[in-house]
Every structure is written in structure tokens, then in C-alpha cells.
């Protein structure tokens, strides 16, 4: 498990989704969000490489999908809410994504949560 900087707004601690990320992740997000349609989920599960190829993913992006590399997908510009649709389709959940991001097993993450902290923003009333 990597060390977490609880105050950091930078990767890998925190991903603030920007316009640049959105452009980088355009194909990935379009592919992921296509899985909101049940028929597309079926088609993807039946033949992942064929389905992925219709969304013009790069070989790297396709590989991240195949390896369920949730953290890598986010670093490639996938939005968490889009990646969650891929996870749902392959029978995984938010826990798998969170555990992957934090370098733990799902069971470790589930028993760690809630990961309690304190502290208020400056000038909080």
C-alpha cells in the first residue's frame, strides 16, 4: 500500500478532472458510456476486442480496459463515473476501483472505510 498524502489534490492521491483530461479521455469515455445500453454490455462481454475496436481505442487504452487497470484508465483521461460503467459491466464495483487506486485489496479497503480524518478549510464558519 502506497503512502497517502491526505492533503494532496494531485495524482495519485486525488484526480481533479480537467478539460485537458476530458480531451485526452474522449474515446475512452465514449466507449465506457456506451455500456449504459444493455445490448452494448452484452456485445462487449461477448467479444471485448471487437467491441473496443469500434470505439477507436488506442492499443494502450484497450490494454488498460482488458487488464481492468482502473487507475491507469483514470490517468489516461477516463472519468471515474465513466469507468464505473465498465466496472459494472464486468461485474466489479466502486470498491474495486477504489482499492486499485489505493493499492489494496477490496477486502482491505472495505474494512478501512470510512477512512476518518478531521480538519476544516481555512475560514470555515
Amino acid at each position: 500500500m502506497s503512502t497517502v498524502d491526505w492533503k494532496s489534490l494531485e495524482p495519485p492521491h486525488t484526480y481533479l478532472y480537467s478539460g485537458a483530461m476530458s480531451s485526452a479521455g474522449e474515446r475512452l469515455n465514449r466507449f465506457a458510456l456506451s455500456l449504459k445500453i444493455p445490448a452494448n454490455r452484452t456485445a462487449f462481454l461477448a467479444d471485448p476486442p471487437a467491441y473496443v475496436s469500434t470505439y477507436s481505442l488506442t492499443p494502450l487504452e484497450a490494454d488498460l480496459v482488458a487488464r481492468r487497470d482502473w487507475t491507469g484508465l483514470m490517468q489516461a483521461g477516463g472519468h471515474l463515473q465513466a469507468i464505473l460503467k465498465i466496472a459494472a459491466t464486468v461485474g466489479q464495483s466502486l470498491w474495486h476501483i477504489g482499492a486499485h487506486c489505493a493499492g489494496m485489496s477490496v477486502e482491505q479497503m472495505q474494512s478501512a472505510c470510512p477512512r476518518r480524518l478531521g480538519g476544516l478549510p481555512p475560514d470555515f464558519p
Binding site: 489534490l9 492521491h13 486525488t14 449504459k36 476501483i97 477504489g98 493499492g103 470555515f124
Partner: protein, 284 residues
């Protein structure tokens, strides 16, 4: 004229919805039983104030909108707002209904006050509303809702000040409507982060203080930069800025009638209810 009888802020999460379904099918997970029980006074309050319309400020999670066209502000004007399939298939719950006549009135009034929203005549709604609604309203859901979707997913987000102004515009728009009782709800937050190594962080101190200060201290809350709210509460705590719109839609002088807080597992779950005594106390 139309008047706002009160409002509340409430958290949402996918598990809040699926755990409700599990609870109804058998028994609640004890962590979610707390939330279910904690919301019963809100359910009773909503029944007591008898709204004719409910305005809901919420955010979509790429379940209706995609980044091909992602509005900063969008208004749903439709007879129905069907449940979005978030990838796991639809839940067995009622469908939200809308009132297009009220929707177009609000649209004209909000655009007239320089809120140039995207108007959606077809809008599927996700757990942003569907996760908590079953806790608060028994089926069938007859009270029409007016969903206002706000971008909380991709920077730049609308500023806290802008959300405050949205609330003021909603108040003016309701006042310009015919006789009607309106409840304004904002949903999102509280502390949570669902990506990155800080996944699962929980800040009860922040959440409880937010619930306590939203009523009396809106101006000071609005001054807090989004980034600082995110640093203390996680990326998705920024959804709390939508609660500013709800608070600003209410009168300065209000009564805080209820609040509740629990942290089941990944998302801080809180609610705070305000009532406008001027309108709710007299019968009718």
C-alpha cells in the same frame, strides 16, 4: 403568488439506493438502517408542508449527459423523468413525474434573470435523485419535480457564488408563479472521495459543521474556494456547493427544523431541513 415553504439539503449515493432496495426486500444493513430511521422525520415534514412542486438541484453522473454535450446548468421540462440505467440495470421503484407548465414558467423566469440553462425535454435521472426519494415519499410519486442538473464532474465547475445566485433566481421565479407551495431541495456531498489514493476519506467534523452553519452562515461558506472544500472533504464534497442554491432560495430568516448525520461506508450522509415559518404555520 407562489411561495417556498421550505427546503433541505441531502446526500445521495448509488449504494443509498441499492441498500434501500435491499432493506425493503428483507432487512437493512445496520449502517443503512440508521439512515432510513434518520430520514423518517424528513418524510413526515415533507408530508406536513404539502408541496405542490419540488425543485431539485442535483448533479448527473454521466448517466444522462455525456461529455459530447455536458451542460453547466440544465433544466428538465417533461411529464416524466425516467430512471437512468447506470450499468447495473434499473431498480424497481416509481418514476419521477414533472409538470411542463411549471417547468416552462421556471425556464422563462430563470433565463429572464440571466441563467441561460440547457432545456431538456427528455431527461433520465440517476441516483442523484432516485437514491433518496424512496426514503422520503411513498409510491406513487404524485408531486411533480423540477430537476436542475449542475456540472459537478469536470472543471471548471460553476462557482459557489454562482450557485448562491441560482438560488436567489429560483426564489424570484417561484414568487412570480401562481398560487403554489414549493419545496427546494439540493442534493450531493457530504464528505467523500471515490477515486485516487484518498478513496474513502471521511470528514465528520466538516460535515457536521456544514450542517450546523449552512443556515446562519451562507455568506462565509460561499467564500470558501472549491479546492479547499475538496482538500478537507474529498473531490466529491464539492457537491455541497449545490446546497448553497437551496439555502439562497429560502428567506434569510428561517427555522432549522431537523438535521441528521451518519457515515455508512464511503459517503457522508447528512440532511438539514429548513422551514419558512411565514408560509407553513397558517393552514392552507
Amino acid at each position: 403568488m407562489g411561495h417556498i415553504v421550505g427546503g433541505f439539503g441531502i446526500s445521495h449515493s448509488p449504494s443509498m439506493g441499492t441498500e434501500y432496495d435491499r432493506g425493503m426486500a428483507g432487512r437493512f444493513d445496520p449502517r443503512w438502517q440508521l439512515w432510513f430511521d434518520g430520514l423518517q422525520p424528513v418524510k413526515a415534514w415533507l408530508a406536513k408542508v404539502r408541496p405542490d412542486h419540488i425543485v431539485i438541484i442535483y448533479n448527473d453522473h454521466l448517466n444522462h449527459f455525456t461529455f459530447d454535450a455536458y451542460p453547466t446548468f440544465a433544466l428538465g421540462v417533461a411529464e416524466q423523468f425516467p430512471q437512468a440505467d447506470e450499468g447495473w440495470g434499473p431498480r424497481k421503484i416509481p418514476e419521477l413525474r414533472g409538470d411542463p407548465a411549471f417547468g416552462w414558467h421556471m425556464c422563462e423566469q430563470l433565463v429572464g434573470q440571466e441563467f441561460d440553462l440547457t432545456v431538456c425535454q427528455q431527461m433520465r435521472v440517476d441516483h442523484g435523485i432516485y437514491s433518496w426519494m424512496p426514503y422520503l415519499v411513498d409510491a406513487p410519486w404524485t408531486i411533480p419535480v423540477l430537476p436542475i442538473a449542475v456540472n459537478m464532474l469536470r472543471f471548471p465547475l460553476p462557482s459557489p457564488r454562482r450557485l448562491q445566485k441560482l438560488g436567489v433566481a429560483i426564489r424570484n421565479a417561484v414568487a412570480a408563479y401562481g398560487k403554489a407551495r414549493v419545496v427546494v431541495i439540493a442534493t450531493g456531498g457530504m464528505s467523500h472521495q471515490i477515486s485516487g489514493a484518498r478513496f474513502g476519506m471521511a470528514n465528520e467534523e466538516l460535515d457536521r459543521r456544514f450542517l450546523a452553519r449552512l443556515g446562519p452562515d451562507l455568506e462565509r461558506l460561499v467564500a470558501i474556494p472549491q479546492q479547499e472544500l475538496i482538500r478537507a472533504g474529498g473531490t466529491d464534497a464539492v457537491e455541497l456547493t449545490m446546497w448553497y442554491a437551496m439555502r439562497a432560495a429560502l428567506a434569510d430568516e428561517i427555522e432549522q427544523v431537523y438535521d441528521f448525520y451518519t457515515f455508512p461506508q464511503i459517503t457522508g450522509c447528512g440532511v438539514v431541513v429548513f422551514e419558512e415559518t411565514q408560509w407553513t404555520r397558517p393552514a392552507g
